[in-house]
Symmetry: C2
Subunit: 342 residues, 2 copies
C-alpha cells in the first residue's frame, strides 16, 4: 500500500482484508458499546495528561529536516537527487489527498516526484507497463502504487512487478522474510512500523527485554511492526480479532502498538500503569465544531489511556506524520545505494 | 538447514546463531541449577502420566505410509517418482547420521535420493556448481544442503543459489515472507514447524483463538513455528533469551512449543494445567544403562510437565520423526507441482 499519513494506514477494510468478520464484529461491538461514555477524539492539548505525549509531528519534522540536509549534500556531491514515482488509479478522494501530501513532502525534502494517474477503468497491462518504465528509470529510486486499487486489477500481480530495489513501501514478501529472519537485512522497512519504532527510540523507550503487544496483524502494520519489535529484542505478542482475552494480555505489556482498525478499542483499563502506547489508528468522526466538520480519533481511548500510560502518541500528530517521513527516508536510502553515497 | 530427526534441529549452536550469549547463559544457568533435582530423560513409558502422550513416531509412520501410497500412484500414473538431492560437506558424524536417515526414509517412501559429498576443505564454487546441476535436473524436486557447513563456506550464498521451487527445507526468505504474510502462500513450510502443527492437528488440539507460546526464535524452528501458529489463528508470543519472565508468560499459554536449545528448561510449574506441550529439543545425555551409552532429553522436564499438561510430546519419539516425514511430504508436493499431479 502506498505509505501515507492519515486514515489510509488503518482502515480495517484494506488493513486486514483476510480477517474473519465475526471476530472484528466482536471487537466493533465492544467499541460501539463504550462509545457513549467515551470522550472521543480528544487530543493532547485538551486536558491535563499524566503521560508524556510523544509528538510525532515534531519528531517527523526533525527527521525531514535531516533528510533535506542530506539530499542537498547529495546534490552538491554527485549532482543527483532521489526520485519517487507514484502510481495512482482512479480518483478516490482519500487517495488523491495522500498522494498530494506525499508530493508536497517530497518537494519540501528536495526529492523529485512523479505521479502517473490512470482512469478507474484502466487495463492492468497499462499499469504494469508504467511500473516497468519506472523500474528501468535510473532517476527513480522509489516506486509506490497507491492502494486500494480498483477490484478488476490484481494487486498482488501489480505489486510483484515492482523492482525490489525500488519497493520503498517494503511490502514485498522477500523484504518481509528478510525482516523476519535473524541475520538477514531487508532492503526497506515498511514505513508505518519503522515510524513506530523511531518514535520509541527517539522517546528513549527501551525495547530490549520488554513485553510488547501488537494489536492487529495486517501485512502493512501489525505483522512488520511485530517483526521489527522482535529485531529489537522485545518479547512480542500479536493480538487479533480471534484473540479471546485481549485486554488481559495487553495489561501485561510494557509497550502497546495498536493498529486494530477499531476506534477506541483500547481503554484505560487495558493498560499496565506506565505502559508506552503507540496508536496507529485514525478514524474520522463527525464534529461540527471542527473546521472540516470532522476530527480524527485512534484505536486508543486517549483520555483514559493518557492517565495510565507513561507515554502515548496522540491522534492526529503521532504516528501519521512519521509514516511519510519514513517514506522519504526509504527513498533517500534507495538513492544512496544507487549512487553509492554515504 | 537440512531437515532431520534428532538433535540437529535444536542444537543451540546453529539454531540461534545470533543470540546474545548472556541471555542464553542465564537460561543455561537456570537449567544447570535444577538439573540435580530433575529426573532427566524419562520417556513416556517410564512412569504413569496424566497427559496424553502425543506419539510422533506413530503419526509420522501414518504420514509416511500415505506418502508412499501417493508415490506409487504417481509412478503408475505419470511414470515418475519424486527425487531428493542432498549436499553434504565434510564427515561430521551427526551429519552423516542425519543424511543416512533421510536416505533410508526416501527409499522407504519410494523417493529417489542422491547424495553428493564434498571433502571438508572443498571450494565454495564446487558446492554451488553441484547445486546448480541439481537445480537444472528435472528428476530432482527437492534439494537440501546438510548444515552446518564448514566455516570457510558462505552459508547464505550457498543457500541463495538453491532454486526456490526445490527449497524443500523452506528456509529461503521469500518462502518465509510468504509464510508470514496473510493472503500469500509459501511454496514450502519448514519441516520441523510443519511437523509440530501436524502433531497438534492430528491430536485434535484446537489452535484457533488459543494462546500459544513459542520458546526460541531461530530461523529454523522458532520463527516459522510462530508464523504458522498465527496462520492457524492462535495468539502467539515468542520468548527468547532476553525475555525477562518466561515462566510467567508460559503459564498463560494453552499451547507451548519449545525449541530453546536449553535442556530441561521448561519445568512443571511453567505450565498452565491442561496446556499442550510440543518439545522440539533433543540433547544427548550420558547414560550407561542405555545401549548407546546415552539417552535423549528435551527442552521440557517431561516427568513434571506430563503431570500438568493435557498432552505432551515425548523425547525421543515426538517431533523428531515428524521432521523427516515433513521432508518427504515437501518433496512429494514439489514433484506433484512439477508433474501437475494431484
Amino acid at each position: 500500500m502506498g505509505a501515507g499519513n492519515g486514515p489510509e494506514a488503518h482502515n480495517p477494510i484494506f488493513q486486514d482484508p483476510g480477517e474473519e468478520k465475526p471476530g472484528w464484529n466482536h471487537w466493533l461491538l465492544i467499541a460501539a458499546a463504550v462509545v457513549g461514555d467515551v470522550p472521543v477524539g480528544r487530543t493532547a492539548n485538551d486536558q491535563p495528561s499524566a503521560a508524556l505525549v510523544i509528538d510525532g509531528k515534531l519528531i517527523a519534522d526533525e527527521i525531514r529536516f535531516r533528510i533535506a540536509e542530506q539530499i542537498r549534500r547529495m546534490k552538491d556531491s554527485v549532482g543527483k537527487v532521489p526520485g519517487l514515482a507514484v502510481i495512482l488509479v482512479g480518483d478516490r478522494r482519500d487517495s488523491l489527498t495522500y498522494v498530494r501530501n506525499k508530493v508536497i513532502a517530497c518537494e519540501d525534502a528536495g526529492i523529485k516526484s512523479l505521479v502517473t494517474q490512470f482512469p478507474q477503468n484502466c487495463k492492468q497491462d497499462d499499469v504494469i507497463r508504467a511500473l516497468s518504465t519506472f523500474n528501468e528509470d535510473p532517476s527513480i529510486h522509489g516506486i509506490l502504487v497507491q492502494l486500494p486499487l480498483p477490484q478488476h486489477l490484481n494487486e498482488e500481480k501489480i505489486l510483484n512487478a515492482l523492482k525490489l530495489e525500488k519497493d520503498v513501501d517494503g511490502f514485498h514478501p522477500l523484504n518481509m522474510g528478510n525482516l523476519a529472519m535473524r541475520g538477514r537485512e531487508p532492503l526497506f522497512i515498511p514505513c508505518t512500523p519503522k515510524g513506530c519504532i523511531e518514535l520509541l527510540i527517539r522517546s528513549s523507550v527501551e525495547i530490549m527485554g520488554k513485553n510488547a503487544v501488537v494489536i492487529g496483524r495486517s501485512n502493512i502494520v501489525g505483522l512488520p511492526t511485530s517483526l521489527l519489535l522482535q529485531r529489537h529484542h522485545a518479547t512480542v505478542t500479536i493480538l487479533h480479532a480471534l484473540t479471546k482475552n485481549p485486554e488481559q494480555i495487553t495489561r501485561e505489556a510494557d509497550i502497546v502498538v495498536t493498529a486494530s482498525g477499531v476506534p477506541n478499542l483500547v481503554r484505560g483499563n487495558w493498560l499496565k500503569p506506565g505502559a508506552v502506547v503507540i496508536d496507529v489508528g485514525t478514524f474520522p468522526v463527525e464534529d461540527p465544531s471542527c473546521e472540516n466538520g470532522y476530527r480524527l480519533i485512534g484505536d486508543v481511548c486517549y483520555e483514559e489511556a493518557s492517565k495510565v500510560a507513561s507515554a502515548i502518541t496522540p491522534v492526529p500528530g503521532g504516528v501519521g506524520p512519521m509514516t511519510i517521513a519514513m517514506l522519504l527516508s526509504n527513498t533517500l536510502d534507495s538513492a544512496k545505494r544507487a549512487y553509492d553515497f554515504t
